[in-house]
């Protein structure tokens, strides 16, 4: 499927708004920029309202007869539940500082992709229905009538926001469009308006424990394949355990890492790392998903999916939980999990059995990020590394949105990366760390049918990569996010060909000197490492 035009055409994007007033809610569904609707079966699995067959291109979306009332009551309830929503709807001054901070606005030029206007799509309805001035003065006060066209507009534009929170960084009042998008998607889910790529994954996760819908034997089988690959490329046979009671640590990674290239190389990295340090850990097939597409559905769905982590940790009797490389997974774990499903008083404060370091920063959730764990190992000299094995890589670091603006993990990954690879080059400062750009496909927008949107939204990230590619010959974009690993490769092919994508642990593992390893002329991908042929 190729809906995106050539890069040169996309570059000619105009940021001048159209003549049509933004208050007109009617949208053109441009192919490649909207998602197929959630399947009835997925909604039924999750017990969500209004399961049916429908199509966004149809005139009739088969909304429930009282949809208007449902939305009104839903918004009212959420105004009472979230101070963030109430304050953010009331205080925006439309200064426009957020406008060109959104990757979708930069890439598409569509004014409704300016965060300020995206929020106004909801704010205008709120004004009309919930404020005195809006009720009295209507359009003059910025109010709009809630119509089916508004629902369609919401469906379109709130699935063109990846909740990356870049706008919230620049907003003088910290207005966070992610909060608005989260609420609108919740409202839409109340009347059965959603996309398959999110709902299908959430339903899978509910049923099988992971987004991909891998049943326990398949999940284990996939990891067994990775074990075979490690044996082939490294010469060491590993024996990871599953659902094992009494292990010290429960390890949970995003399921994308057991399934697709290049995430699988990262998973191979996890397995090698744990073997290298002799970690007493186990993998669960029940809590086999680190990510959480509930975050993109509703607070309640997020909580339901997330509950498996603590439940499984308790059942298996582990001491603490180690989480794999993921982005939005860590937004949920860092800012939501303990509140939703805690307190985890049956666990212990994470303590590295190798270095003795106690992770006080996770003393309540009892869950740490594998990069925090690795940084500590390397700092204490517990890993036997040969960074020269990564000399053929010229790397740059992509800060994933959620671990950046929803966690603040900047130094740990850089420390790890620099420890295992001699060639590291930062992208321009306006595009990294807290100012980092989204890959263009977070929050469940990685469906094939969204390709055009992703090429537009990923443009700022891709340009920054291209810059270091031209300047420093960068050929590898490293990150800690499973969605990044899926989304960035095609983005690079489109904007910055010849740049590959990898997880951080893959690079660590490639540099690890494993006990009993055979000659390793290839990397974990089975590709020859240039310059290493005659080296060892």
């Amino acid at each position: 499927m190729s809906q995106a035009p050539k890069p040169e055409e996309l570059l000619r994007v105009s940021h001048i708004p159209p003549k049509k007033d933004w208050m007109d809610p009617r949208v053109d569904l441009i192919p490649g920029t909207w998602g197929y609707p959630g399947k009835a079966s997925s909604l039924e699995t999750l017990g969500l309202p209004n399961p049916r067959e429908w199509n966004p291109t149809d005139e009739d979306w088969k909304l429930p007869p009282n949809w208007k009332e449902i939305i009104h009551e839903g918004l009212k309830e959420r105004l009472e539940k979230y101070r963030s929503l109430k304050v953010f709807l009331d205080i925006c001054v439309r200064c426009g500082a957020c406008a060109d901070k959104c990757h979708f606005f930069i890439g598409s030029g569509d004014p409704k992709n300016m965060p300020v206007l995206r929020a106004e799509l909801l704010r205008s309805i709120y004004r009309k229905d919930f404020t005195t001035v809006g009720r009295m003065l209507g359009t003059f006060a910025g109010g709009r009538e809630l119509t089916e066209d508004v629902i369609k507009e919401w469906f379109y534009y709130f699935h063109q926001c990846t909740e990356c929170r870049r706008c919230s960084l620049y907003c003088p009042y910290g207005i966070d469009t992610a909060e608005i998008t989260i609420v609108v998607r919740e409202l839409l889910n109340l009347i059965g308006v959603n996309i398959d790529w999110i709902l299908g994954a959430a339903a899978n996760c509910y049923r099988t424990g992971n987004h991909l819908g891998l049943e326990p034997h398949t999940f284990k089988g996939n990891i067994d394949f990775l074990v075979d690959d490690i044996e082939e490329y490294v010469g060491v046979r590993l024996n990871p355990t599953f659902n094992r009671k009494g292990a010290e640590v429960l390890f949970i990674a995003p399921s994308g890492d057991v399934f697709a290239d290049p995430g699988i190389f990262t998973y191979m990295g996890y397995l090698m790392l744990f073997e290298h340090i002799g970690l007493d850990y186990t993998i669960s097939t029940y809590a086999s998903e680190g990510g959480n597409f509930g975050l993109f559905t509703s607070q309640e769905t997020m909580k339901r999916l997330n509950s498996k982590m603590y439940a499984e940790a308790k059942r298996l009797g582990v001491k603490w939980i180690l989480g794999g490389e993921c982005g939005h997974m860590w937004r949920v774990l860092h800012q939501y999990m303990d509140t939703m499903n805690g307190p985890a008083d049956f666990l212990e404060v994470p303590k590295s059995p190798i270095t003795g370091t106690v992770f006080d920063n996770a003393k309540s959730t009892k869950m740490i990020h594998i990069v925090e764990f690795m940084a500590d190992l390397i700092h204490h000299g517990k890993l036997k590394l040969n960074p020269k094995r990564n000399d053929y890589r010229r790397t740059t670091w992509h800060d994933s949105c959620n671990v950046s603006r929803g966690m603040g993990m900047f130094e740990e990954p850089r420390y790890v990366l620099k420890s295992v690879c001699n060639n590291f080059f930062e992208m321009p400062e306006n595009t990294i760390r807290e100012q980092t750009f989204c890959c263009g496909g977070g929050t469940g927008l990685n469906a094939g049918e969204f390709e055009y949107l992703r090429m537009m939204g990923g443009m700022p990230r891709a340009f920054a990569v291209k810059h270091v590619q031209e300047k420093h010959g960068v050929n590898l974009l490293v990150n800690v996010c499973a969605l990044d690993r899926a989304i960035l490769p095609p983005l690079m092919d489109y904007w910055a060909p010849e740049v590959s994508v990898s997880g951080l642990t893959e690079l660590v593992a490639n540099a690890l000197v494993m006990e009993g390893e055979h000659d390793r002329p290839t990397d974990l991908r089975g590709e020859d490492i240039p310059g290493l042929e005659g080296d060892e």
């Binding site: 001048i16 708004p17 105004l79 539940k81 979230y82 101070r83 963030s84 304050v87 009331d90 205080i91 925006c92 001054v93 439309r94 200064c95 500082a97 406008a99 060109d100 930069i106 004014p111 300016m114 206007l117 106004e120 404020t131 003059f140 006060a141 620049y170 003088p172 009042y173 910290g174 049923r207 424990g209 049943e215 034997h217 089988g221 599953f242 094992r244 029940y286 509950s307 499984e312 774990l333 860092h334 800012q335 509140t339 939703m340 307190p343 920063n361 003393k363 309540s364 959730t365 940084a375 603006r405 603040g408 900047f410 130094e411 740990e412 321009p428 306006n430 595009t431 100012q435 700022p460």
Partner: protein
């Protein structure tokens, strides 16, 4: 359209005062009743609004982290941008409220010659901060009308503000800067196609209203034909402040326009975006510490949800699990 409506509204208000206080002589209404009513609306409205926000809980700890988290001992955390202590949060809020820290980050993205570049863009920050501080200074200067004797700091502020000693009466720098900043904010809104596109009457109206207040004040002070009797103004102001209102004769109509527009600003405040004054303090992405893995944040409406339990899961997949050598709780 939005811009003309707003301008006309402010001009209409001024004309209304000219007719009411000037020609019809309703000074008591414009000098006493309306200001009192406006203050009342402001105080009650502002309080209600803030209480309304405070009534909704903060279910999750969602700071936007703009710096390194506190994790390993040897990694230096960012105490202000990713605060993990109360003092860190206080620092972050102070930077936000007093220095407009977030707006200071502002950049401008531009695609030129096939490249995407980000330029520094501090003009909005500069105009914004100048506007707010000059307005504050001017409001404080006005305390001289409501106090007897005039407090030292008001006098001192006045002296500093007129430091350049230009003109007679001496020109206050804040008057000039305030008008310049307002004009910048207005012109920016009109010139930038994107801003113009998003701007509502509610964006232009406060700008024109405050411009009206400033210009009427300036005319009174610096232009002979609009001069008002300052002694009488002070008598009126002291009367208002001491709840002993009197309307002295012979205050020029320009004063009533000035006072009316300011009253309108106060009355309009609680119902408008100007409430960002209160709201910025309650913004959950700024006023919370980044410590949600260290300290459990409690959500008052956290409710039990239906989950797919392990037992249920094993029931669904037991055969397959046994076949794959996965441990099970119950044998088939």
């Amino acid at each position: 359209m939005a811009v003309w409506y707003s301008l006309l509204l402010v001009l209409g208000m001024s004309l209304f005062v000219y007719l009411g206080a000037g020609l019809l002589g309703l000074q008591a209404i414009f000098g006493i009743a309306i200001p009192y009513a406006a203050i009342l609306v402001f105080l009650i409205g502002f309080t209600m609004r803030v209480l309304g926000w405070a009534r909704s809980p903060v279910p999750f700890r969602i700071p936007t982290t703009a710096g390194q988290q506190k994790s390993l001992d040897w990694i230096k955390p960012s105490k202000i941008d990713s605060p993990y202590t109360t003092w860190g949060v206080v620092g972050r809020m102070a930077m936000e409220v007093l220095l407009f820290r977030s707006l200071f980050r502002n950049t401008k993205a531009e695609i030129t010659e096939g490249k995407l570049a980000y330029g520094s863009n501090k003009w909005l920050w500069l105009a914004g901060i100048l506007f707010h501080y000059t307005f504050l200074t001017i409001v404080i200067r006005h305390l001289r009308f409501f106090t007897e004797p005039v407090p030292y700091f008001v006098q001192a502020l006045e002296n500093i503000d007129g430091m350049l000693q230009i003109g007679s009466p001496v020109i206050y720098q804040t008057d000039v800067i305030l008008v310049a900043a307002l004009l910048f904010l207005l012109i920016r809104r009109l010139v930038s196609p994107q801003l113009r596109y998003i701007s509502l009457p509610a964006d232009y109206f406060p700008l024109f209203l405050i411009l009206g207040i400033a210009l009427s004040g300036i005319m009174m002070r610096y232009f002979a034909i609009f001069k008002v009797d300052l002694m009488s103004v002070k008598v009126l102001a002291m009367g208002l402040a001491t709840f002993n209102p009197i309307v002295p004769e012979g205050i020029g109509v320009m004063f009533y326009i000035h006072l009316f527009l300011f009253s309108m600003l106060l009355a309009y405040f609680p119902f408008s975006k100007l409430m960002h004054l209160g709201g910025v303090f309650l913004s959950p992405t700024r006023n919370l510490p980044n410590d949600s893995r260290m300290v459990r944040h409690v959500n008052p409406w956290n409710a039990p949800v239906k989950v797919h339990t392990y037992e249920h899961y094993e029931d669904d997949f037991r055969e397959k699990m046994i076949e794959a050598d996965l441990p099970v709780e119950k044998q088939a």
